[in-house]
Structures are given as C-alpha cells and as structure tokens.
C-alpha cells in the first residue's frame, strides 16, 4: 500500500465519520444541558428519509437539510417537553421515540427506496487542497465534512469559552445552583435539547445526501446507538467525541483490511474491534488507573490532562427539575 492509497483511506474515513461527528456534537450539547435524548437511532433514520425526500421533491439540497433538521428538532422537543413539563422519564421517552422513528421511516420511506437522488457535491478548497498529506485528507472533501469539523471547534469553544456555554453546563451539572444565580434552567434545557436534536437531524441528512446516498429501509440503523456510545466515550467533550467518531471509523476500516488478510476469521469478530478498543480506553481513562497515571505527569501538565481524561457525566443528566 503506498502513501497515496493511505491518504485516500484517511480521507474516506473522515468522510464516513462526518455524520457521526455531527450527531455526537448535537447529543453532547443536549446532554451537557441535562437532557439525554435517547431517540437518536430513530431520529437519524427519519431525518435521513426526510432529508432525502425533501431534496428529491424540491431539488434543493438546502431544503433537504432543513427538513431533516426539523425532524430531529421535533424529536428532541418531544423528549424535552415530556421531561420538563410532563415530568416523565427521559430514557423511556427516548427509547420509545427511537423505535417509533425506525418504524415510521420504514413505513413512510416505501416510495423512496433505492431512487437516484441529489447529493452534496465535492468542494475542494483552493490553495489548502495542495498542502501535502493534509490537503487531500482535510480539504478535498465536501461541505458536510467542513461543517462537521467546524462544528466540533465551535461546540467546544461555545461550551468551554463563552458565558452562555457556562450557563448551559451549569444547567446540566447543578440546576439548583444555576437557579440561584438567575440562570433560566428550563428555558436553556429546551433550547439546547432542540438545537442538539436539529444537529442530529442534519447528521441524518448527511448520510442520505452525502455519505450513503439514497434511502432504503433501515438505512442508518445502529448509527444512533453508536453516536450515543461515542458521546460517553468522548466524556461529553466534542473534541474527544469527534476523536472517538474518527477512531471508530478508522478501526472499522482497519477491520475490513484485516479481514482481507485473515479470511478464516469471521467478519463479525472484526466488527467488534472498535467496541473492544473503546472499552479498553474507557477502563484506562475512568478507572482507578487514571489517578496514578496523572500523578506521574509533570505538574504543569496535570491540570489540562485531568480535564482531558476525566469523563464524569453531567451530574444532573436525565434528572427532572424541581418546581422553582
């Protein structure tokens, strides 16, 4: 395998990971504000269908993405309303919605199965595309990939560098403390759950209009659960989450290569590789091993390393609000 091939593989891994990265960012935002949206798998399927159908019918890619975002936002709104107003369990609502989205997409998508449709065109960035190695990987992609990469940076910056991000995180960590300081916790949870859901919707359209063009029953099935797992793996940080998404894509690609070299091993065994790797990393990071490892690090690095390694969920994640 020469270097051009390797670069092509890396470029394709990035493209394959892009929708996952977008969904992970969306869910991270929602969970950081305290709302766990478990409907991802169904929401991705239905928004993938909505995006494809809207783009096909109107001929506009933009309308396709908007329709998908709307579907994702509505799903998230149902979870938020059920939790914040009806005081129902977020996990239960999300679970039911995940199954509803799956079935509904199969039913509504019957007439759109395996139709040729519009797709996001490639868009090479002038100058940057000619940078050796990085150019072909990062800058000979399309708008979806650029959006995913910018989204990661923007989400991280928003969460950890802005006042609004601080308020968002406080709503998910200790709502009663946020309340005493005048943060409108309920409102913020609505806003960020819906925003996160819209991003999940965009991720759905990113599949059906770009990465896995078209529609078929169960088109993105499983990717929602994977995204939810990666949010945990990412320790509720968009950077680590994006890393996890790419790592996931890379190990999948690696598994395909390995499978070719060891045909006697069943394909399903290789499919388990990404998960095993994730469990291993989580044990390393969140178990008792982290503290002694940190103690070995130079003092100046300890604080940033701790921030990177620690992966506690938002303390109030999934909890209902008190009435005040």
């Amino acid at each position: 395998m020469d270097s051009t091939q390797l670069i092509a593989i890396f470029g394709s891994i990035l493209l394959q990971s892009a929708p996952l990265i977008i969904a992970v960012c969306g869910e991270t935002i929602s969970e950081r504000a305290g709302i766990i949206n478990l409907s991802l798998d169904g929401s991705l399927l239905l928004s993938a269908l909505a995006g494809f159908a809207a783009a096909l019918l109107t001929g506009s890619l933009l309308l396709g993405f908007l329709a998908a975002a709307a579907v994702g936002a509505i799903f998230a709104l149902i979870v938020a309303f059920g939790s914040l107003h009806l005081r129902q369990n977020q996990v239960a609502i999300g679970f039911v919605l995940a199954m509803l989205g799956d079935s509904l997409s199969a039913f509504l998508g019957q007439n759109y199965t395996r139709l040729p449709g519009p797709s996001v065109p490639a868009w090479h960035i002038p100058v940057l595309k000619d940078v050796p190695v990085l150019g072909p990987i990062l800058f000979r992609q399309d708008a979806v990939v650029y959006f995913a990469l910018l989204l990661v940076a923007a989400t991280w910056w928003f969460l950890f560098r802005t006042r609004a991000g601080l308020e968002l995180r406080s709503a998910g960590e200790r709502p009663e403390a946020a309340f005493t300081r005048g943060v409108a916790v309920r409102k913020l949870r609505y806003i960020y759950a819906v925003l996160g859901g819209a991003l999940v919707g965009i991720a759905g359209a990113a599949y059906s209009l770009d990465v896995k063009i078209g529609w078929a029953e169960g088109h993105t099935r499983g990717m929602g659960w994977i995204a939810l797992a990666i949010v945990i793996f990412g320790g509720w940080s968009p950077l680590r989450g994006a890393l996890g998404a790419v790592l996931f894509g890379a190990t999948k690609a690696l598994a395909t290569v390995l499978q070719r070299s060891f045909p006697q091993v069943a394909l399903v065994a290789f499919n388990a590789v990404p998960w095993l790797l994730m469990i291993l990393v989580l044990v390393l990071v969140s178990g008792r091993l982290a503290a002694p490892l940190l103690a070995q690090a130079p003092a100046a690095l300890r604080r940033p390393l701790r921030g990177l390694l620690q992966a506690a969920p938002p303390a109030a994640l999934g909890q209902p609000l008190d009435d005040n």
Binding site: R163, L166, E167, R169, S170, E173, R174, E176, A177, A178, F179, T180, R181, G182, V183, R303, R306, A312, A315, N324
Partner: protein, 485 residues
C-alpha cells in the same frame, strides 16, 4: 442597608414555619439568628434571599418594599445568602463558579481572574482561579461563594450555619472577614446558627426564633442562660423510672471515626443490657458518626469495640445484624423502607425464607398480623410510601426481629404525633425490660432527658460529657448543647 421584614408568614401544609415574624436589621452590624432545628430560621432567610416566597408579609430594603421572585432578583437588590452547603458547581473551576450568573462586564477571563484574586486578598482569602472547585475544602468553597456574592453587589449577607464542617482557622478567617464587612464596609450581616458561643463571639445582637415565632432579641454579650431560656421550652421533669442494669453489652474504648466533613475524636462509652443511652448534640456534632460506627456502617478509624465481652475486630453491618444489633436510620423512606414495595413485599424481603418462590399467602398473613398488632393504618397491599410517617415507623418496628440485643436509632420519633411517639417508646420499654439495650440520638432534648438512663453529650466531634440522666438538669443539657462549656 437596612432590612425590614414585616409580618412574614409562611406555611408548609399544616406546619407553620414562620408565624407573622417582624424583624429589623441595621447596617454595620452583625446579627445572630438563633433557634433550635425547625424553629424557622432557614425558612425566614430563604424568604429574605428570594429562594422562597412568603404567604403574607413584606420585605423592605432601606424603606423600599421589594418582591423577590428569584435569588437573582434578591442579589440584584443587594441581598445575598451563603447556604450551609455552598451552592456551587463542583466540576467548574473557581473562576467559572465566580462568573456563572454574573452579568457580562466585558472583561476577559484573565481580567476576571485578577479581579477575583484582588477581592480575595482584601479579606485574606487565598484562591486559585483555575483550580477545580471540587478539590477545595468546604471552607474554601464558602469563601468563594462569599466573594461571588460581594462581587454581585451584596449589601446584606446571610450566612446559614457557616461553621459546620470547616476548620478552626477557616472559621477565624471567616469571622474576621465578617467583622471587616460590617465595621469597615457598613454591610448588614446575619449569622444563622444554633451555636451560642459563636453568636456570642461574633454578633452584636441576637434574635431568637422558636417554633416559627420571634420570641425575643438580646443585646450581646449577655449571659448564655438568657438565650437558652428563649431558645428552649422548659424541659419537663423526668418521670421516675426504675432501671435494672444488666451486664455490659456494648463497650467502646477510644473509638474514633471520620467522614469527609467531620471527625469523631476518641470516645469511650459503654451501655448495659436493658439500658437506654441517649446521644445529645446539635446536628453534625459527632453523635451520628458514633451511632453509625456502632451499627457497623462506618468503619472505626481507631479504638476497639466489644459486644457482650467479646472483642469485635472486624465489625461491619452484616456482622452486627448476626449479633442481634438493629439499626433504624433517620431517613425512613431512604434507608429503612423501600418506596414502591407493598407491606407484604417488605415482609417477604425480611423473612429468612430461602428457595426460589415467595410464599405470598404466608407473607400477606404475616403483614396483616403485624398491621393489627402494631396498629398500623394500612393494608397488606398498601405501598409503603403512602403510609403516614407514624405508620411507617410502626411498620419498621414491626419488621424488627424479636430477641434483639441492641437497637440503634436516629431520631426515633421525629415528625411523629404524640400518640405514635408514646406508642413507640412503649414498644421500646417492653424490649428494654427483656434486656435489650438501646442507643438513640435525637434533636429533641425533652425526649433525651425523659427516655434515657445515661446521656452522652457531643459537640464539634467530641464527647463532652456522659452523665446519668438522673444527675443532669434541663439547664445543663441546654448549656452543653449550645457548646457553652
């Protein structure tokens, strides 16, 4: 800033927490707000700081009537409250906690960090803006909250039991800063406490609440006795009771224990079969730790424990149960019973039956039998959380095995009416007569004085004194409780 609370009334269900309280606070002074647990201090201060709204009455600041819907509004008007457990976000950095909820003043984070450090320096606090808040001690978290309130424009500062769980040095530092704030900066300070010595040390004037009412105010310093008289009801004379002490059942030698918040200094105590030992002390004085250590729920950090003469080096809860020790926690529904299960299901859980299947018919009969013997108002099919507190406590007693050696209880009758209280103690007396020893703690001095044979008084993690109940007086207990000796 002058604060005027006018006929504040607040009711929770049938409980009147604040009964037409009118009270005034002047700038430049430090006030103590005294009272027993449940006297209504916290409710009143939560109303003043906007966390709760009164049913009736009004708040005036410098003569202007205010309505606070949220704590944010109260702080904007100049009233800030420091809660017993600081309301901060543990995973945030110190700087993030300082900034959360503050209006954007256009400062860069570095400038804000500098401003925070400067403010801290003014009161002798040391803060590292980039440290994570969860790494801080309770005292440091308090300092941070105090700085945040000051930066937010607080002119009236309320501190709710601020000295619980902080070190002596941090307490001195806190008190020094409070004096600076009042004397030099003219702020109005209110210290909510039930510790007399602290209030005497720091405050200019003390208001005393009892059972939701303002019962008086005293210029400080004044004799402790006057405050004690205001705080506590006169203790009823102890009914004469014959005690027939048996052999030493539980013998503690230099037992110590610790939690992150409190350390229990070595305690040596013993209790005889058929004896009742009452543990007195303000909440968080160490008596809870001792009780949990006896139950095997908290490991001993030192000392030794003997049960019926036998050393027990590896004391833990399963072992305690095997040896006939029962423990009834204060949180009936949190630690004692299981919400969502019926009375019958509780019976099935505690039965020692083995095997795959539950004999529901038998357990239902057992539940019905207990319901009638223990006079529980409920059905075998009732969910436990739907019973009243008194009936839950009765059912807890019903589930206690017979022939116990030792019963350990936290607040055995808290929140119960007189009928249930008397009934519970009747049951305990019956067991006591059979040679069961009882150790209990209670916030109710009356109960401790009336029901114990021996009383151990705790303060600040230390056993102050252990006296036979017959030899102590109401005055003495009240004094000791206030930490005055």
């Amino acid at each position: 800033m002058q604060v005027h609370l006018n006929t504040i009334h607040k009711q929770f269900g049938s409980l009147v927490a604040n009964d037409e309280i009118s009270i005034q606070f002047e700038p430049g002074r430090i006030y103590g707000l005294l009272g027993e647990n449940g006297a209504g201090k916290s409710t009143l201060m939560k109303i003043l700081s906007g966390y709760q709204q009164p049913d009736r009455g009004e708040i005036a600041l410098n003569g202007v009537v205010q309505h606070f819907a949220t704590p944010r509004q109260a702080l904007a008007a100049g009233v800030g409250m420091l809660y017993q457990e600081p309301l901060d976000v543990p995973v945030f950095t110190v700087l993030e906690n300082f900034l959360l909820g503050r209006a954007d003043d256009g400062q860069r984070p570095q400038q804000s960090a500098k401003a925070l450090a400067q403010l801290a320096g003014r009161y002798g606090f040391q803060v590292d803006p980039h440290e994570h808040t969860r790494e801080l001690s309770m005292g440091e978290r308090q300092q941070l909250e105090l700085l945040r309130l000051l930066a937010g424009g607080a002119e009236v500062l309320i501190l709710d039991e601020p000295t619980t769980g902080i070190s002596a040095e941090q307490k001195d530092l806190l008190f020094a800063s409070m004096r600076t704030l009042a004397r030099e900066e003219g702020k109005t300070l209110i210290l909510v406490s039930h510790k007399l010595d602290e209030v005497q040390e720091l405050c200019d004037y003390a208001y005393v609440l009892r059972k939701g009412r303002l019962v008086g105010g005293k210029q400080l310093p004044c004799p402790n006795q006057e405050l004690v008289d205001l705080m506590f009801d006169e203790l009823a004379p102890r009914p004469a009771r014959q005690t027939a002490p048996g052999d030493v059942l539980l013998d503690l030698q230099h037992v110590s224990a610790r939690t992150p918040r409190l350390e229990l200094e070595p305690v040596s105590l013993h209790v005889q079969a058929g004896q009742v030992l009452g543990l007195a002390g303000l909440e968080g004085s160490g008596q809870e730790l001792l009780l949990r250590a006896c139950a095997g729920l908290l490991p001993l950090s030192g000392g030794s424990l003997r049960l019926a003469g036998e050393p027990q080096p590896d004391w833990d809860y399963p072992r305690a149960r095997q040896h006939g020790v029962a423990y009834l926690a204060a949180g009936r529904l949190e630690e004692g019973l299981i919400a969502g299960l019926t009375l019958t299901e509780h019976m099935a859980l505690v039965s020692n039956a083995h095997g795959l299947l539950v004999d529901w018919l038998q357990n239902r009969q057992l539940a019905a039998q207990h319901i009638s013997t223990y006079q529980v108002v409920g059905q075998p099919e009732s969910y436990i959380e739907n019973l009243s507190g008194g009936n839950q406590q009765r059912f807890l007693f019903a589930m206690l095995p017979q022939n116990l050696k030792l019963i350990l209880m936290e607040h055995p009758t808290r929140g119960l009416d007189i009928r249930s209280t008397d009934w519970i103690w009747e049951q305990l007396d019956r067991r006591r007569a059979d040679g069961t020893a009882i150790i209990f703690l209670s916030a109710d001095l009356d109960e401790i004085a009336a029901r114990s044979d021996q009383i151990a008084v705790f303060s600040g993690g230390r056993l102050l004194r252990s006296v036979p109940a017959a030899e102590t007086t109401a005055d003495e207990l009240g004094h000791l409780i206030g930490g005055a000796l």
